[in-house]
Symmetry: C2
Subunit: 155 residues, 2 copies
């Protein structure tokens, strides 16, 4: 398993900070009984290296040495364990992104693809109320907000 690194206080050296993230995720997966494998680490590492929401195919392309199926499996595992969250673009394209954990929504820039987490927006209660009024018991929801980020708004 590769990574030989002292896991404890890990940043004393210029290890790419993403390495810490990878170790952290691998450790969490390990706690849940998932093995620490080379391909898996490669996938996680590639995920951590992405600057913005990415597609499964992009990930595959960036990992020519890892089988497609393995990339997809790894990605699915990360989503299931809440390490990565799904992002839906306006054209329904599915993308992924390292999760900042916890339930939250995304602001997506239609121009550059950047994403930001929507803070301080508590639609939850509002939706639950409206659902109740319609005779429904709400159990969940899906929300994505589209627009232009600061940089792209100027055009």
């Amino acid at each position: 398993m590769v990574t030989t690194t002292p896991r404890h206080t890990g940043h004393e050296h210029p290890r790419p900070r993403s390495a810490a993230v990878v170790d952290d995720i691998v450790a969490q997966l390990s706690d849940q009984g998932y093995r620490d494998t080379e391909p898996r680490r490669l996938v996680i590492s590639a995920v951590a290296a992405q600057g913005r929401p990415f597609t499964a195919e992009e990930l595959c392309a960036s990992l020519p040495c890892v089988g497609r199926a393995t990339v997809y499996r790894g990605l699915r595992l990360l989503v299931e364990t809440d390490q990565v969250c799904r992002v839906l673009l306006e054209d329904r394209e599915l993308r992924y992104q390292l999760s900042h954990q916890g339930h939250h929504h995304h602001l997506l820039c239609a121009v550059c693809g950047a994403s930001a987490d929507l803070e301080g927006c508590d639609v939850e209660d509002m939706l639950r109320e409206a659902a109740t009024a319609a005779g429904f018991r709400m159990s969940g929801h899906w929300l994505e907000v589209y627009g232009r980020c600061g940089e792209c708004a100027e055009d």
Copy 2:
């Protein structure tokens, strides 16, 4: 234009009320330059007959005499002209539904698949505000709410 005519193919007697819906939609399409064709009417009629959100494949299955491509094309046209709206289930399955026009959101029952429009819920402003706070200019959003309808909530 069109269609006050009892087309011979038709069953003039107790015209199902959906027939009025079909005529109406065909008329609107006609206004936009789309032809009034038999297969198109069949598609619209099948759409109008659905009691709840349906998939494209379900529609194909219910129209064995209409080519798949035609069903898909018809459905796409109806979406583009706002006669039909798309509904996204929790598992990302795409369904369709006669549109009640105007921007609105759906409440979807995870058990029986029924849908209701979410009334009196104005998330718009809230989202725009939160987006602005994050330096974004909001241009749109996608929201689906999942739960159980009154009937299914009892279980």
